[in-house]
Symmetry: C2
Subunit: 430 residues, 2 copies
Amino acid sequence: MIQTISASQFVKKQRAGIQRKVFDKTEAIVDSVAQKGFAAVAEYTRQFDSFTLDMQNVKINKSEFESGAAKLSHVQKASIDKAFSTVEKVQKALAKQALKETKVRVNKNGYTAIRPRSIERIGIYVPGGVAPLPSSLLMAGVTARAAGVKEIVVCTSPNKNGISPAVLYVAKKLGISDIYQIGGAQAIASMAYGLSGIMKKVDMVCGPGNVYTAVAKQIVSSRGLVKIDMMAGPSEVLIIADDSARTDYIAADMLAQAEHGTNSPAVLLTDSKKLAENVCIELEKQLSELKNNTTARKSIDDYGAIVLLDDLDQAVKIANNYAPEHLEVMVQDPEPITRDLANAGAIFVNTCEAFADYGMSGGNHILPTGGTARFASGLSVYDFIVRTYVEYMNDVEQQALSEKTTTFAELEGLEAHANAAKLRGRGADK
Amino acid sequence: MIQTISASQFVKKQRAGIQRKVFDKTEAIVDSVAQKGFAAVAEYTRQFDSFTLDMQNVKINKSEFESGAAKLSHVQKASIDKAFSTVEKVQKALAKQALKETKVRVNKNGYTAIRPRSIERIGIYVPGGVAPLPSSLLMAGVTARAAGVKEIVVCTSPNKNGISPAVLYVAKKLGISDIYQIGGAQAIASMAYGLSGIMKKVDMVCGPGNVYTAVAKQIVSSRGLVKIDMMAGPSEVLIIADDSARTDYIAADMLAQAEHGTNSPAVLLTDSKKLAENVCIELEKQLSELKNNTTARKSIDDYGAIVLLDDLDQAVKIANNYAPEHLEVMVQDPEPITRDLANAGAIFVNTCEAFADYGMSGGNHILPTGGTARFASGLSVYDFIVRTYVEYMNDVEQQALSEKTTTFAELEGLEAHANAAKLRGRGADK
């Protein structure tokens, strides 16, 4: 059973890291796909997914697509529809701001425009197989479309029973027809390098996956081939609660986090000894009621924590330093605490992660993990929008600025830069 | 002498890549600094910079700082001041937009806010030694300050004659007092991991450098330690010109690019055979007039190109696909072409890169290279601002959304997620 610990014990607690051998193994897959193309993809798919890929079945055909998407019940479709429209509402509002051009007059005869545009072509990875994640496709796809991305392809690992109907239904709503049955690191490499005769390379790869997918994304990004949304580590939640909070809610939310994987941290920070003790008991109770509690129990034992603090100010400091992916605030008066909280992927006030995971509260569920929320944001339209500086200046202005530019160039010892500026200073004496 | 080539010959031309051994060498430096701290930094500084670092001189002291900054002439200071205020004007205008909170009502009783905040603490690397780059410190520093970044440290390689007065002058204007005499990959590792008793770790590392610095940035970023601005490759320019353009301007701008390094592409796309031929001749002339033309000549020979095209539409297509860092438009009627150009770090219309390199035309000079402009932007306040989703929902709304959330969770087989949502559906029946 989980024990209450102190702040200093918590600070020493480590999150899970990535092993070197995972990097090497993943790099070999990426290199092989880059060199051998589809032959390598087919071989890895046979090895990892026990599935035979050929040039015909690698891409889902139209009838498979239509019949698959139709398999969902009305209630299931309504649930997806609600998530879709809610997430879309938020991202479209944000896109309005993000796609605005900013034009600044920098002097009498010159100005700079910062011109936003959408990335042209992206690939979304959707974990398939045993636990397909239609919600992740929804999150990435709705956000990309709201940002104006035109071409989207999807890769998901093949399954003997066919692609998940929910994944197909979401794809259909997104207007995506290029769905490839390729999983894991080989999918990431396929999207980054392209597959001759099958798939054109993309400019950006996004979506969650296991550690091999995450490392593959990092490798293709570091090679300058594509942008990636982020390098997602184990999902995590940090809950700040006082004695007004409900122990059953807290325990349920910690377990919802813990069922994601055996190294998903679920952390409670509280100033109430009574609450801490009751959550310990409630966790055991709810764990025993789960049909399948193996993963959640291991995760709670190894990475979970219930931390007893002197006051909630200390909780805010620890949270800002820990910079969790998800942060729940369950206190009597949430406003002042929420205002002081800075570093987190998403903060939930009087709501819980489960609603957010399924798009019901509006935010995105692709969020920065492992403390990267100190410097990284959750997925939004901003990730799919790039900006170009467009700089204009007439001849008069160039003559006026020539000397100052030459001086600066000479300070850096760049002779040809100085020459280019000097030449402009002389004006139209060709 | 450089020869005119065709579009198909140009498309096959490769940009420079990074060798595996550079990665391995850099990783060893990063690991050593992570493990041994300052001892490793001192050892690499002795090896690479022939400079003896100790706990006293590793950080510039106040009197060194003041006397160094005072060494600049009035003219030099005026040049830097002009660049500073121009770049600041643009970034402050952009910050106004970027720091705005977006709040969206997602349903009757719930809303999501996208709350922007500045990254707390950053490190800027400034190439030092033989060719210090005060302009890069200016570009990164002014942008970070405009975004609201509070803590900034600078690392620059040590020099027997002291740190460049221009670098110190810019640092002073930026209100930066923490300047460390550490260069190369060891500087990047020091900022990412921190140096016990000397320097606190930062959240983000930016600024240009040689290939070792670039690779070190990539390594610390991939480990989830810090954000980086970008992984900069060789600087490059692509010029689109018709027969109205001045050959002396074109040649001067190509050479300004080529003097950056022996693998900096300077590319001219034109529909005029006459212009192409004249630029070839002009390049030779200007090369022979440079005091030091070794680097520029090698770069032009190996990576330069003059490409003769059928028309300017073809030039636009090639440019969008090449996605250059710098793109100059020197044609009779620049408007329609500029509108169709998408993928570039910065586009210069009737102006040239030299002005932009020194902040005179308003844009930033830290720009995406190697074709990454397809999915990456030039440095701006957006790089120093992160966003948190803050989601609110009252109990009534949670009860209303409980069933839909449970349905979606069950679609993904996540039992504990479903439980957390179900519990909210029951409401305040504790």
